[in-house]
């Protein structure tokens, strides 16, 4: 078990609860899909899971260690093992930095050796070439600026950065929502490949049930800050599904 979230509650001042008693787990090597309408709390959940936002109550364990109240300093080595890919690749890359400089950000923070298994490299240049290769981009992209890349290519760069420290968990927050249809398909395929290759776990957040169904082993449905349904991919058409899940299915 990579992630174990139990009874997490979160509210912002002056508004109703954003997250209400949310519990779920993510297994090693698994892709857990998370579907819901905008405003159902799925992005807040992602931020709480990565400790970008504090939670009100409940517990979050990452690899068996409780992280909900760890200090920022103790959190640092754990952070490396959990990454996020946002919806908008343009805002996720510094437009003033070359691709290679963005990619080097995580590893440059390491004091001492990086304990990487998949990426074995002799120089920074070699490392970047491998990172780009794994997301199927040519090595020549390293010296470009983000605006010289297409949206799909940019999103691949942010994926390369997310896997650069060989994390155990990646939260994918609508990673294809801002891409055109063809790039969407290609990026989803790439993500699926990487999960197998690097034995990654994903929390895949989307409002596109079909994409979630394609990518995930289990699917979680949220509505108004609550988990209304959590089921294995194969059981999606089962009669036991929650009424809201059925409504979602009928759309597709």
């Amino acid at each position: 078990m990579i992630v174990d979230v139990q009874h997490v509650t979160k509210s912002y001042q002056g508004s109703k609860n954003i997250l209400r008693d949310v519990s779920f787990t993510v297994e090693k090597g698994e892709c857990l899909g998370l579907v819901g309408e905008s405003g159902c709390g799925k992005s807040t959940l992602a931020k709480c899971l990565l400790r970008m936002e504090p939670i009100d109550s409940g517990s979050i364990q990452f690899n068996g260690q409780a992280i909900e109240s760890l200090s920022e300093r103790k959190l640092r080595p754990i952070r490396r093992k959990m990454q996020i890919v946002f919806q908008n690749p343009t805002a996720s890359l510094n437009p003033k930095l070359k691709i290679k400089d963005s990619l080097l950000d995580p590893i440059e923070q390491l004091k001492g050796e990086a304990d990487l298994n998949y990426f074995q490299f002799t120089s920074k240049k070699d490392y970047i070439r491998q990172l780009l290769e794994v997301v199927e981009l040519p090595a020549s992209m390293a010296d470009r600026y983000p605006h010289q890349l297409s949206g799909g290519q940019r999103q691949r760069v942010t994926i390369a950065r997310a896997i650069s420290m060989e994390p155990e968990l990646i939260v994918l927050d609508e990673p294809t929502a801002s891409l055109d249809v063809i790039s969407q398909g290609v990026v989803l395929e790439l993500l699926d490949d990487l999960r197998r290759k690097l034995n990654l776990s994903y929390l895949f957040i989307s409002h596109d049930l079909a994409a979630v169904h394609q990518m995930s082993q289990r699917i979680m449905v949220m509505k108004d800050g609550e988990v209304t349904d959590l089921f294995d991919k194969e059981d999606i058409f089962s009669d036991q599904r929650h009424a809201y899940t059925k409504e979602l299915i009928s759309i597709f």
């Binding site: 309408e37 055109d180 249809v181 063809i182 079909a210 394609q214 999606i236």
Partner: protein
């Protein structure tokens, strides 16, 4: 044919943006124009209502029944726009003036179309709000106080107010999440059944095409590469680009891309 686009070419100073496009849309059908952003699909819909900037030159003919829309002068096209052709846009906030109430939008639109009787105006307004399942008290609100879904419902109500020949819906659900987008399209479908209007539906989302369209055309780089009935194109695409597009959109069920179940065909 209610709308025929014949050999339309759109150029700016240096480039041909739309290259010799022809389309025919039948009365009462839901016609989808599919393509990636930048393929030129929006530009064609804007050419229909002469909404393009004057720096773009439009050649060819666009017939609404027997009228060539491109030959109309500014005054004449204004009478066609809003009465016989109406638009619903993606950017619902931009479609409304932020400092006018919903009621103001309705009344102004009716005045422009020559309906000045207050009693009649009120009747029409309430009737049309009911038809899109919105309550009357929204009339006093400002656009920013309504949700995206509600605003698109108002857009539908306004677009259908004077029973137009054709409604052009340009990516109208793209800015909404999938559940509210779905509800809006269900509503549009229902209203189409009731009023028998024709819909030209611009989208990049196969789900909507699969569910609602009767016929469709696929655009790429300013050209129509394939057009025909929904089942023909989705299940038996001819062009490699169409195949690529269909393959890229995941399906939930094991079914044919058009939505027909495998068994039904066998």
């Amino acid at each position: 044919m209610i709308l025929s686009i014949k050999d339309v070419t759109i150029k700016n100073k240096d480039n041909t943006i739309i290259d010799n496009v022809s389309l025919s849309i039948r009365e009462g059908e839901w016609f989808a124009l599919v393509g990636q952003s930048g393929s030129g699909k929006s530009m064609i819909t804007q050419a229909i209502g002469q909404l393009l900037p004057s720096s773009l030159k439009v050649e060819g003919n666009i017939y609404l029944r027997d009228t060539d829309l491109l030959s109309l002068d500014k005054k004449e096209i204004r009478q066609v726009r809003g009465k016989r052709i109406t638009y619903i846009f993606q950017n619902y906030l931009g479609s409304f003036t932020p400092f006018h109430t919903i009621e103001h939008h309705f009344k102004e639109y009716m005045r422009v179309q020559g309906l000045n009787d207050t009693k009649l105006q009120n009747e029409r307004m309430i009737e049309s709000l009911e038809s899109v399942a919105l309550s009357q008290h929204l009339l006093k609100r400002f656009p920013s106080q309504l949700s995206g879904g509600q605003l698109q419902r108002v857009s539908i109500a306004l677009a259908l107010l004077f029973s137009p020949d054709i409604v052009i819906a340009d990516e109208m659900t793209t800015a909404l999440d999938s559940v509210s987008g779905y509800k809006i399209l269900e509503l549009l479908k229902q209203r189409q059944k009731e009023t028998n209007c024709t819909i030209l539906f611009i989208t990049h989302d196969w789900r909507h095409v699969r569910k609602y369209a009767d016929r469709l055309a696929v655009m790429k780089d300013g050209q129509i590469i394939e057009s025909g009935g929904k089942h023909r194109i989705l299940d038996h695409p001819q062009h490699s680009y169409t195949k690529q597009l269909i393959k890229a959109a995941p399906l939930l069920r094991k079914q044919l891309p058009s939505g027909l179940d495998q068994e039904e065909i066998l």
